[in-house]
Amino acid sequence: MNQVITPPAPKNSASKGRKWRWFHRFGSPAWVYRFASNWAPRFGVVAGVLFLIGLYQGLVVAPPDYQMGDSYRIIFVHVPSAWLSMFSYFVMAVAAAIGLVWRMKVANITARSIAPLGALFTFCALVTGSLWGKPTWGTYWVWDARLTSELILLFLFIGFIALHDAFEDRRTAARASAILAIVGVVNLPIIHFSVEWWNTLHQGSTVTRLDGPTIDSRMLSPLLIMFLAFNFYFAAAVLNRLRVSLLDLERKTNWVKELVHG
């Protein structure tokens, strides 16, 4: 651990300096604040446009499924939410690990900014999954592998937030929750595998699978567009949260004072 903690090498040669420059930039709260202020609205606009196209295609253009009728249209929000919930846990853990190893304040704040969004995506995946389950399975909740994994993921997100906020000292909070996130991200595939395995033992393959290869292109294209839209939304929302957290936590520093006065 000790040899990892040393910060990236000081700029002794020009090439090295250039190589690390982008990394150092991300270490500067002022630069990241400006970056977030610039890019969050753009990502937001892209996400909004993609949402509109995806919604139109998904709700109007795509034909009803021959088996499930119209209820399958929920997957256009369910599947991207589910994917993004896992992805955001991964990104959160990576950010937390960077914060832990290089003592990078911005990375710590990023991890904490992602956590509620990840919990939100998990919540959306759970709610839409059970709303899809009612017409498909006849009940709101089935102990299906994906839903169960999402439920545990929600607990992991809440655990991260709860642990982080239980500490008074910001640095201790960041380091402790980073360790939890890393343990969680190592465990997540195992949990996922065990749940999947448990599910096949208990339920067989009665659950309808949507990810078949023979999917109509008019159904596939809105799914892909919504997928892109969700990712852009994620980027925009994280930057938005990051921006306000940076401003809040750095209020005593010069760059915030300059920003506010000028």
């Binding site: 402790a176 343990v183 065990s194 749940v195 448990w198």
Partner: protein, 230 residues
């Protein structure tokens, strides 16, 4: 890291495990309480669900495993909390030996104090839950393989929360989701045995998980302890 002249790593680990064991043995409640808790929780289920033998045989393994999880959780705080409060933990962190190994010794002591008694008492509960002889055997095997992982993973959670004053429910929030694979593989083995199916795959997966925890958890809990004492 250079071990000091006085004690080798192995000696230090044994000394720590012995010390923790002695402290727990001296206050008998610490060993008896989780076991009593285990028995009481299990015996509540026939009262709340049904005393029907066939149904109990079905639910039994899951009930016993969940009770074992909760009993482990109950005693978990004792792994680091007393040492944190009197400063021993800080000394260990500053000491000459790798902290991960010291933490491992403490996890072993925790397992000897909680996991082992649960394992010993579990046949009795198996009988209460109407498990077959084979079922009891497999359940004991699964507990033997799985409970060390409970102690190891639990130590990470305690290491993270020991610096927080009221950490009881937070600890369970952090640790229980991580226990899910152990629960699934452990109960899966007993269920498979009850149905007359091969159960070795379940136990193998459980063993793999435990070995993986053995390799990873001491490092994670050592860094957690470092964060908490700093």
């Amino acid at each position: 890291m250079q071990p000091s002249q006085g004690t080798g790593l192995g000696q230090a680990m044994i000394a720590i495990a012995r010390r923790d064991l002695l402290i727990s043995l001296r206050s008998r409640g610490e060993i008896l309480l989780p076991v009593l808790f285990f028995i009481i929780v299990v015996s509540l289920f026939p009262l709340s669900i049904t005393p029907d033998p066939t149904l109990l045989g079905k639910f039994g393994p899951g009930i016993i495993w969940v009770a074992a999880l909760l009993a482990t959780l109950l005693a978990l705080d004792g792994v680091f909390r007393p040492d944190y409060e009197d400063g021993t933990l800080e000394q260990l962190a500053l000491g000459p030996h790798p902290l991960s190994m010291m933490v491992l010794a403490k996890s072993v002591a925790h397992w000897l104090v909680t996991g082992l008694p649960l394992l010993i008492i579990s046949p009795l509960l198996g009988i209460l839950m109407q498990l077959s002889a084979l079922g009891i055997k497999v359940m004991m095997l699964s507990l033997l393989i799985g409970t060390p992982a409970l102690s190891l993973l639990g130590a990470v959670g305690v290491g993270l929360t020991v610096g927080i004053r009221k950490s009881g429910s937070l600890l369970s929030l952090l640790v229980l989701p991580l226990y899910v694979p152990i629960l699934i593989f452990g109960t899966g083995a007993v269920h498979a045995a009850a149905l007359g199916l091969p159960y070795s795959a379940h136990l193998m997966l459980l063993a793999a998980f435990s070995l993986f925890s053995l390799a990873v958890c001491p490092i994670a809990s050592a860094s957690a302890v470092r964060v908490s004492v700093s």
